[in-house]
């Protein structure tokens, strides 16, 4: 018989009879509002003393109906909505959507646009990993790391603002190219950032990598074997932490990544510490890619020169009648990709983030589905957490790096 204790402060506790002396299973609700700043994730945890017997995630508390929303908006309007599902890496979401539309339309963007896309993707990867590092460290007690990481992230957001006008949801990468070209001030800011960032990464490593408390809390915790990672669809650092060499930027390159020289970060241990090492290495590799992209930035236009796809520049509207007609058609009806479906995946900070677009030949999509890395990474939670203690659950949730906006869409 189960005994239910009345609901107090949002925690519901039920007790089942003990099946061994001194043991009873306590069901605890790790509610949607809790101090780990990972968003609105709810976990129903069964505990035997302090040891976790089962974990059941309950999601949907941030379900936004983004996929339905995109069906009611035109293709170019949909770009702003794509920013907001994985809200820690908006340009990477934009990139997946833009690549999908371009693949459907059969267009190839110019080289300068590709390099700018790489620059924005890597800056975003850095800012996303900084949030992960700051919040994970904060949850395990290292509060200074949080302050340092957000200090650097402020600089990345200032660069975002310089190039696109927005700090976070830039909508910079659009189907057909990018929003606008770089400004000289952006180039200066980026140059200084690339020169100073390695010393900041060293600062984080000094604080954490050889820290005995950090090592005790993360080594051996949350082990995920390679087969489990593949079967459960985990990607990104979750997969590379278990020894599988898979990084979409290297294995199936897109938007010009094959031109840059960088290494894939892979570890064998499969625990939280290995994934931490991977993300630190990815920070360093991103800085390397940024240096190469900035130095080797090709000249040329930043958008595809197709008036049926992208609007003409404002100056042309004063002189050309065709420009006015194109502008009118694109802003009232919008372009219509040929009927068909396409799936494009890019590598975000969390793993494989993809966009599946189905077009029926009209100016609004029939279906847009976002393959979200966090949705699949979160399914590994039960495999990783069973057998550990409840305090380790915090480290394990942190290491999945789940963004609930992406999980619930």
């Amino acid at each position: 018989m189960t005994e239910t204790i009345p609901n107090t402060a949002g925690v519901s506790i039920t007790r089942q009879p003990a099946d061994h002396l001194g043991g009873e299973i306590l069901t605890v609700n790790f509610g949607p509002q809790h101090p780990s700043t990972h968003g609105v994730l709810r976990l129903i945890v069964d505990l035997d003393g302090e040891v976790i017997v089962s974990v059941k995630p309950v999601i949907g508390y941030l379900h936004t109906g983004i996929e339905k929303q995109m069906e009611a908006l035109r293709y170019q309007q949909g770009v702003v909505v794509t920013d907001r599902h994985d809200y820690l890496s908006p340009p990477i979401n934009n990139l997946a959507y833009a690549l999908a539309i371009e693949k459907l339309m059969g267009v190839e963007v110019p080289e300068r646009a590709q390099a700018l896309r790489v620059i924005m993707s890597e800056l975003t990867r850095i800012s996303s990993h900084l949030v992960w590092l700051g919040t994970s460290a904060l949850e395990l007690g290292a509060m200074s790391v949080f302050m340092y990481c957000f200090r650097e992230r402020d600089r990345v957001l200032e660069m975002n603002e310089e190039i696109s006008g927005f700090r976070m949801h830039t909508s910079y990468i659009r189907p057909g190219g990018v929003m606008a070209d770089l400004t000289p001030r952006f180039v200066d800011m980026l140059d200084v950032f690339i020169r100073e960032m390695p010393s900041y990464i060293e600062e984080y490593e000094d604080l954490l990598t050889q820290n005995p408390i950090w090592k005790v809390r993360t080594q051996g915790i949350g082990k995920l074997s390679a087969e489990d990672a593949i079967r459960l669809g985990a990607t990104g650092p979750m997969l590379r932490g278990s020894g599988v060499e898979w990084d979409l930027r290297k294995t199936l390159p897109y938007t010009g990544y094959e031109k840059y020289d960088f290494e894939m970060a892979v570890e064998q241990a499969g625990d939280c510490y290995a994934r931490y090492l991977i993300r630190i290495r990815e920070l360093k590799e991103s800085v390397k890619i940024l240096r190469q992209a900035l130095d080797g930035l090709p000249g040329g236009p930043v958008n595809v020169d197709d008036r049926k796809f992208l609007p003409p520049p404002r100056e042309e509207l004063e002189t050309s009648m065709e420009a006015v007609i194109h502008h009118f058609k694109l802003f009232t009806e919008g372009y219509s990709p040929p009927a068909g479906d396409v799936y494009v995946a890019v590598e975000s900070g969390r793993g494989e983030n993809g966009c599946y677009v189905v077009s029926d030949g009209t100016h609004k999509p029939r279906r847009v589905k976002f393959r979200s890395a966090s949705f699949n990474n979160l399914q590994t939670l039960e495999t990783m957490a069973v057998g550990h203690m409840i305090a380790d659950l915090i480290a394990i949730i942190g290491t999945t790096d789940a963004v609930l906006g992406d999980v619930d869409r």
């Binding site: 999601i59 949907g60 459960l232 479906d341 396409v342 799936y343 609004k364 279906r367 399914q379």
Partner: protein
């Protein structure tokens, strides 16, 4: 190869390879693709609603998509299957690809496709007492009506062309 005999059709869409099978042959095809052809991972599974007119009974209304990924061969393959509106039931593949578990719950929640053999087919994104399947094309977008706007009907009614 064996998969060609069972496939109903093959094709390519914007550079992506796909094969189409019947719902009955789905489990066999996916098991074979996983064990013999090296497609170890399921990237995602989802559904597309091809409703042309609200109220018409379409035998090919729901299309289930399974995007398979092979790490060793660096390939992707899309497997499609079509379901009729009156028979929106498909076999569950949660034992073949474990991450299909949540994807199938999401498809049930948002489209109303039942997966036979799924261990726990309950709503995952919508509240448990929600009525209706929101991503179907005959379900309105919802939200607030924007008065005095030319597009105010857009939110109350289904997306265009059903």
């Amino acid at each position: 190869m064996k998969s060609r005999r069972k496939a109903v059709a093959r094709g390519e869409s914007a550079g992506d390879e796909w094969i189409a099978v019947s719902p009955a042959a789905l489990r066999e095809t996916l098991t074979e693709l996983r064990d013999q052809q090296g497609f170890e991972a399921l990237s995602f599974l989802s559904c597309v609603d091809h409703l042309a007119q609200p109220g018409s009974d379409d035998s090919n209304r729901f299309e289930l998509i399974y995007e398979l990924r092979s790490y060793q061969h660096r390939k992707v393959l899309r497997v499609r299957t079509f379901l009729a509106e009156s028979e929106a039931v498909a076999p569950s593949v949660a034992d073949i690809y474990p991450n299909a578990n949540w994807d199938e719950r999401e498809t049930w929640d948002l489209f109303g496709i039942r997966f036979e053999g799924h261990p726990d087919l309950t709503r995952i994104l919508m509240p448990d007492d929600w009525v209706g399947h929101p991503l179907r094309r005959d379900y309105p977008v919802g939200g607030e009506v924007v008065d005095f706007s030319e597009e105010h009907e857009m939110w109350e009614t289904t997306p265009p062309q059903a």
